[in-house]
């Protein structure tokens, strides 16, 4: 038996999906063009630290320089200021992990309780959660600054970590997760057996929540890791900066991206690109690891059954 040729297979697939062959070609072409738009800048910035400024300008955009040059960029970048980049990185890690733990520790029990029991004030909490989840975060930043300066917490790590503990989207996702996937019979049986509410949360709720954890960690990590406007407003001591503020300092304080601003620091385009990668790579890694949770979970919050 002869295997069907390429053309026949295409024809069959096209018939099954109701698309003509030129139509399929057009679809692939348009989607590939968008892949170039979204993918090429990222490939470029991964390659940029391997090249000198001259090579960046003269070589083809996607040429690879040398690993030695990338190592030099690393050395130059971490030599900037008084150990600044290492401090900013450490701050970023500390702020992100603390905010993440705090926000998940607060959101998980709240979303669980909203899903499984009815109590006075529940409607208010649900409404407040929905509204503040949709409200753009930056709308509250300046008011938060005023509040924090009232209690003299501005320019401390607390001014960045504490507000991030309020994570309404996490509460909402937890609420939806337990409302849809917690077997009610299991809870009823546990109650009959004399299980307390805390035991039920610990022995039934938490073990079920692996997918939910993946999703919450991804969302909390990304938003806190990339947190920019809040620390910008709260922190003015550059030893307290996180990496996004550090990048901003590199953009505006060196000649790397400002031809008119002359300094003799060894911070050129390659170094700034590397600094960008310090911020991008962790999120991409976490994304690739939690992709199946994220893709399924991005929909938990949005699909109507």
């Amino acid at each position: 038996m002869a295997r069907p040729g390429m053309f026949q297979r295409l024809q069959r697939a096209a018939r099954a999906d109701g698309i003509s062959i030129p139509g399929m070609g057009l679809r692939v072409l348009v989607l590939l063009l968008f892949a170039i738009f979204f993918g090429l800048p990222l490939i470029w910035i991964v390659l940029a630290p391997t090249k000198t400024d001259t090579q960046l300008l003269d070589w083809p955009p996607l040429a690879f320089g040398s690993l030695d040059r990338a190592l030099l960029a690393w050395k130059n970048l971490f030599g900037y200021g008084e150990n600044s980049v290492a401090i900013w990185s450490r701050n970023s890690v500390v702020y992100t992990i603390s905010s993440l733990l705090l926000s998940i520790a607060i959101s998980l029990p709240a979303g669980y309780a909203l899903a499984i029991s009815r109590f006075a004030g529940r409607q208010f909490l649900l409404w407040a959660t929905l509204i503040s989840m949709i409200l753009p975060g930056s709308a509250l930043v300046l008011p938060l600054f005023l509040e924090m300066s009232l209690v003299r917490l501005t320019n401390t790590p607390w001014s960045v970590i504490l507000p991030a503990g309020f994570f309404p989207f996490g509460v909402y996702l937890t609420y939806i997760f337990y409302a849809t996937s917690l077997p009610k019979d299991l809870l009823a049986a546990a109650r009959v057996d004399g299980c307390s509410e805390f035991q039920m949360f610990y022995y039934i709720g938490l073990p079920l929540a692996r997918t939910l954890f993946g999703l919450l960690i991804f969302i909390a990590f990304t938003s806190n890791w990339n947190n920019y406007f809040l620390p910008l407003v709260m922190l003015n001591d550059d030893r307290l900066y996180n990496l996004p503020l550090g990048i901003q300092a590199l953009i505006s304080g060196t000649s790397a991206l400002r031809p008119t601003f002359a300094t003799d620091l060894p911070i050129r385009r390659a170094e700034v690109a590397l600094a960008g990668l310090l911020l991008i790579v962790p999120v991409v890694i976490i994304f690739l690891f939690s992709q199946r949770y994220v893709v399924s979970g991005a929909l938990t919050g949005s699909t109507k059954e």
Binding site: I19, F38, P61, G121, I131, L135, T180, S196
Partner: protein, 313 residues
């Protein structure tokens, strides 16, 4: 159905219910505290501050009357920055919504490995945000460096200063926003398309509907609530623009003056020291965000919860 997870259990055992009630309150206590402290209090405090007079940096509550509002609203930059934000939204909103809908429909036309790979590629730039996104944009828009340099030179740009000009800002910020934000929306729309029942699509095909007709006449109307959701959120979120206008100017040749309302609020607070006027501008943007949020919740029914269900019904 989500709305009534375990009411039967609860009502059947009233004695357990009371115990459950107390536990539930403990479970939501920390969250309620954070909601009050970092969600509601700053808004209320901003309202108070917007009526306060500042003497040597200390607020004297209710001493200013409406003065902060008149200062903020009559500042010549107030209308300008909101005008800038609207001129940007006039481009970003249609481009973003149409782009995302078209891509999601094209992806969904066939369920194959190609669609999955493409979706992942579109999603990854979501990892880039704030100053890093601006940094990447400055590199990508520089005709001397860009991986798209052939395109930029073909369009007649020679240096980065030719590209980074205030008159191009609405277009530039649209491209930057689409690059960083479209992937997440595409994932949401794709999910919404996947939830359309197979019978409906199958029936359409039986009736001789081709892929384009089914995309436009069947799938598109069914995902309209998501289109509204995205439009409202894009509007409310993008009016808050800060990093892009604040940082992108650094790469151009001439310094660029205040461009967005959030920059103006920041200027009032930290350069001029008038926190009252800053709070007034913040409240305008907060109000826009609030109206957007309530519109999403009351008109789209995207977010399932008994709270919004009861409001609708």
């Amino acid at each position: 159905m989500v709305a009534t997870p375990n009411t039967t259990i609860v009502t059947r055992q009233p004695s357990k219910r009371r115990r459950g009630l107390q536990a539930a309150h403990l479970f939501v206590l920390p969250y309620t505290l954070f909601l009050l402290l970092f969600g509601i209090a700053p808004g209320l405090y901003a309202i108070t501050i917007s009526f306060a007079k500042f003497v040597e940096g200390r607020p004297q509550l209710f001493q200013a009357g409406l003065k902060n509002y008149t200062i903020a609203f009559t500042d010549f930059r107030f209308l300008k920055t909101f005008g800038n934000a609207f001129s940007f939204l006039a481009i970003a909103l249609p481009v973003g919504v149409i782009g995302v809908v078209v891509i999601a429909l094209l992806l969904h036309a066939r369920d194959d490995w190609f669609a999955n790979v493409m979706r992942t590629i579109y999603f990854v730039p979501g990892a880039v945000a704030g100053p890093t996104l601006v940094l990447l944009a400055i590199f990508t828009l520089d005709p001397a460096l860009s991986p798209f340099r052939f395109l930029l030179t073909a369009m007649g740009f020679e240096t980065i200063s030719d590209v980074i000009r205030p008159k191009y800002f609405p277009v530039l910020f649209t491209i930057i926003g689409f690059f960083g934000g479209a992937g997440g929306w595409i994932a949401i729309f794709y999910g919404a398309l996947n939830s359309i029942s197979h019978e409906v699509l199958e029936a359409a095909r039986m009736d001789g509907c081709n892929a384009w007709q089914s995309a436009w006449h069947i799938k598109q109307p069914l995902i309209r609530p998501y289109i509204a959701y995205m439009a409202i959120l894009t509007f409310a979120g993008n009016i808050q623009l800060y990093a892009e206008p604040a940082l992108i100017g650094a790469a151009g040749s001439s310094p660029i003056s205040l461009w967005s309302p959030n920059q103006l609020a920041y200027e009032f607070a930290f350069r001029i020291g008038n926190f009252g006027a800053s709070a007034a501008i913040s409240l305008v943007m907060l109000l826009i965000g609030l109206i957007g949020a309530i519109l999403v919740l009351t008109t789209t029914s995207i977010f399932q919860s008994d709270a919004s269900n009861s409001a609708e019904g």
